[in-house]
């Protein structure tokens, strides 16, 4: 028996997300519960791109929608926010990246809830690039996710595998 698991591969260029529903045995014997890669806007890959629109009704756009937009001068495009998020120094770019990460996880949570996934019932695992400052980065990402309603995740370095593997092998 295991609870539902959400696995987020926070890669440099793309984010990938896998989900394994809870497995609650109803009879004696082996049980199997496969993880599945989630699709966002018809793709398993969420481009690491954020656009600040300055439009009150939709201040931030993420994912493929952002990648396919044609921003004008009033919009701000953040192409490298994940690298800034994992930057060891604490400067304005890293502060901006933390805000974007918070918004990104809010966007991700709303997408997951739209798919019918109750993120509050999921244990969440995050795979991140391996840096010397991995522990500090993990705390930062965990805080951003917690504030966005995704809960406190378990963080793992990227070398441990993909989102799908994380979701399959947890516990």
């Amino acid at each position: 028996m295991f609870e539902a698991t959400l696995s987020i591969d926070l890669g440099a260029s793309y984010t990938k997300v896998a989900y394994r529903p809870a497995c609650i045995p109803t009879q004696v014997g082996p049980m199997d519960q496969e993880a599945r890669i989630l699709m966002f806007d018809n793709s398993p890959l969420i481009p690491s791109l954020a656009i600040r629109t300055r439009n009150a009704s939709q201040p931030w756009v993420f994912g493929r929608q952002a990648a396919l937009m044609n921003p004008d001068g009033g919009m701000q495009v953040f192409q490298n926010w994940k690298a800034d998020l994992f930057r060891p120094s604490n400067d304005k770019d890293s502060a901006t990246a933390a805000i974007i990460a918070h918004r990104f996880f809010e966007w991700l949570r709303s997408k997951l809830e739209y798919m019918g996934i109750d993120v509050r019932q999921c244990q969440t695992r995050v795979a991140m690039p391996t840096f010397d400052t991995f522990d500090e980065n993990a705390v930062l990402v965990a805080r951003c996710m917690d504030l966005s309603g995704l809960g406190q995740p378990d963080a793992h370095s990227q070398s441990q595998g993909t989102a799908r593997q994380h979701a399959r092998f947890v516990r």
Partner: protein, 66 residues
Amino acid sequence: MTARNLGLLPIGKKGEAVSFNPLQHEDVDGGLVPGAAAVIEEGGWAVRQEALIRAKVKRAQGGNNV
């Protein structure tokens, strides 16, 4: 006709009012956010839900950004 026979579906017609969706529409002038009122300048083509050629759109006259 060939495109239709191959299973392609048209995305919009010239002059049609749409709600901007970057996955289906290409913003010619720039500055549109998803959901903004737009008008199709040139139709596109899709296979199932995936756009092969996005329809070219411009901001609708008098339309707000959303």
